[in-house]
Amino acid sequence: MTDINPAMTETQIPTASAAAGRSLWQDAWLRLRRNKAAVTSAFVLLFIALAGVFGPWFSPHPYDRIYPQYVRAPASLEAYPKEDAIVPAFESAVARARIEMGETEVDGSTVRVPISDGEPLDPRIVRYVDRSDLFSNARIEELSDDGRSGVLAADVSRIRFIFGTDANGRDLLSRILIGIRISLAIGVLASVMALLLGVTYGAIAGYLGGRIDNVMMRVVDILYSLPFIFFVILLVVFFGRNFVLIFIAIGCTEWLDMARIVRGQTLTLKRQEFVQAAEALGVNNAGILKRHIIPNTLGPVVVFVTLLVPKAILLESLLSFLGLGVQEPLTSLGLLISEGASNMRGAAWLLIYPAVTLTAILFALNFLGDGLRDALDPKDR
């Protein structure tokens, strides 16, 4: 804590004395690092965010690829197909070709069945097998001279569904990864939106003061008393369910608290000497706001934003849950939970994995937000 390198201090701040104090941010950083829950949450969050951003590219299954043979396949670490499912699936695929079939045998990762027919075999029958999700590279081997009998062979394609598949036969892991991406993106974008609106509005109201402040804050009060969730729902219902609209709508509902916090901060800040000094130097209002007021309100604002992100994610998930969020085949965690809820009989994993993911994100964000609040604002414990 006290091991400040004097050489570094000198080069950075030539005029400062050797005992340079720690800034608010350094202080906060030290306090945050000591908070185990917050640090763990930050790592969990980082991991989940990286999974959401890069995961879909590394996932073996595209999130919208449908495997008709694997509808509601349970979560399993073993590769599909299961051993006892290979033969029936193969036979039912070959049966569609309407030819005589012998005994099917499985040899490692290839399946073979002797086939024969009244007329020469059509090489196109391999397509019946290739069409199945379970097999690939189907071919006719040992074709007899008259072309009426041979052996139909195919490779078993091993696919892993670690989290199982959904009711349409899509890989749940890939869908959760894309869901994380969408949920986090909406959470962050909506918070940024609320941040920009709220900070600008609050800082202007607080700094200008007087009648303008009065009017601006009355507007906030009135908006506050409106049942905003309903207006978000109305907006989304009426103007289509698109990604941009959703986060704008959420951002527009969440900026009110921000405006109040920033205004309160600004009211105390604007009486301080450094602002008066700037005024005396002839800096204009916009300059003072940008250079002096807003940077100094950032502490509480940062705390508020970390608590805003889970709120926005929750609101988006709620909209998705109600069927008003992002549209298929794109998905979000709320939509996945909603689908899981309607499929929970017999396919509990569809509910459990997305629910656990969302809960983990919300927990991590809340702990991180609490940690930041403790770190940045030690009075408010």
């Binding site: 009135i222 008393s225 409106l226 049942p227 309903f230 207006f231 729902i233 109305l234 907006l235 219902v237 009426f238 103007f239 889970p310 929750l314 998930s317 709620l318 849950f321 109600l322 008003l324 709320g334 939970i337 909603s338 899981g340 809820a341 929970m344 009989r345 509990a348 509910l351 459990i352 629910a355 969302l358 809960t359 919300l362 927990f363 809340n366």
Partner: protein, 305 residues
């Protein structure tokens, strides 16, 4: 006091008016209408329908007509549920929502306050950590996660309770629990914080100095101060709980009014959406007033005149 209540009601009128106005024009200016079907209606029928519901008049006239009807307590006919007026729908649905909501609210209030006070009295012991931990859990996990998980666990896997539906008391257990859990968590946290503060305050120290038994000190003097933040939280919370939760009603299949708003908005059922907005706004306003009156009664420092 009476003058204060009256003034608050008069003061609420503009808010209500603004809410109604915004909601009305938002719904009406949205694309689509209640009579849009896959196959378009015969133009003549459409014309008659529009005339019957005044849709052929200019929007501002319809707005005035709506306000006039509203003033007489008429919320209009529902467009998606034929043969029902919006008032009928609320008459059957509202009691159901209020029943579940009030049960959840009482449960949350009792358990939350007890847990919170207990944690405060045993600050920094395992009791405290348990309560705070559980509360964090309850606040973080959203209803739409808890509800299906409870339904899955107790309804589908264990089979102890019906996973959904409405009828006997058994049907109410899971929805009430779902609604109460987050409220318990929030109330416990609020009570804990306020009780810790109250226990350090002068009036509690004085009560102790008088030699009052500790259950009186805590139960009467500390709790009375500690309950204040809970009361002010309860206003909006009660309004939200009693007007039904769309998530809980959807998952457990409960015939309350929580679903009306989303269904009405999707089906462009103008009157149903407006009715829901009005009912919820009135609930919010009334409960905020009740809270303020309770506040004055609980906290002798607060005076309204």
């Amino acid at each position: 006091m009476f003058a204060y209540v009256l003034r608050r009601f008069v003061g609420a009128v503009p808010t209500l008016f603004i809410i109604i106005t915004i909601a009305f024009f938002m719904i009406r200016l949205a694309p689509g209408g209640p009579f849009d079907l896959e196959r378009p209606l015969d133009p003549l029928i459409m014309q008659n329908l529009e005339r019957a519901y005044n849709f052929d008049k200019p929007l501002w006239q319809q707005y005035l007509i709506y306000l006039g009807n509203l003033a007489q307590g008429d919320l209009g006919p529902s467009f998606t549920r034929r043969d029902f007026s919006v008032v009928d729908l609320f008459r059957t649905g509202l009691p159901v929502s209020i029943r579940i909501g009030s049960l959840a609210l009482s449960l949350a209030l009792v358990i939350g306050v007890v847990l919170g006070a207990w944690a405060a009295l045993r600050q920094n012991t395992w009791v405290d950590y348990m309560v705070v931990g559980t509360a964090t859990f309850g606040i973080t996990i959203p209803t739409f996660v808890i509800a299906p998980l409870l339904s899955l666990g107790f309804g589908v896997m264990m089979g102890w309770l019906p996973a959904g539906g409405w009828g006997t008391w058994k049907h109410m257990v899971l929805p009430v629990t779902t609604l109460a859990l987050p409220q318990i968590a929030i109330i416990a946290r609020l009570t804990r914080g306020a009780t810790i503060e109250a226990l350090r305050s002068n009036h509690v120290r004085t009560a102790r100095a008088y030699g009052l038994p500790s259950h009186v000190v805590v139960g009467v003097h500390a709790l009375r101060a500690a309950i204040l933040p809970v009361v002010s939280y309860l206003g909006p919370a009660a309004a939200a709980l009693l007007t039904g939760s769309v998530v809980v009603e959807t998952i457990f299949g409960i015939p309350g009014i929580g679903r009306y708003f989303v269904q009405g908005a999707l089906g462009r059922d103008y009157t149903l959406v407006m009715g829901t907005v009005v009912v919820i706004a009135v609930f919010v306003i009334v409960f905020n007033l009740v809270v303020d009156i309770l506040y004055a009664w609980l906290d002798p420092r607060v005076r309204y005149d």
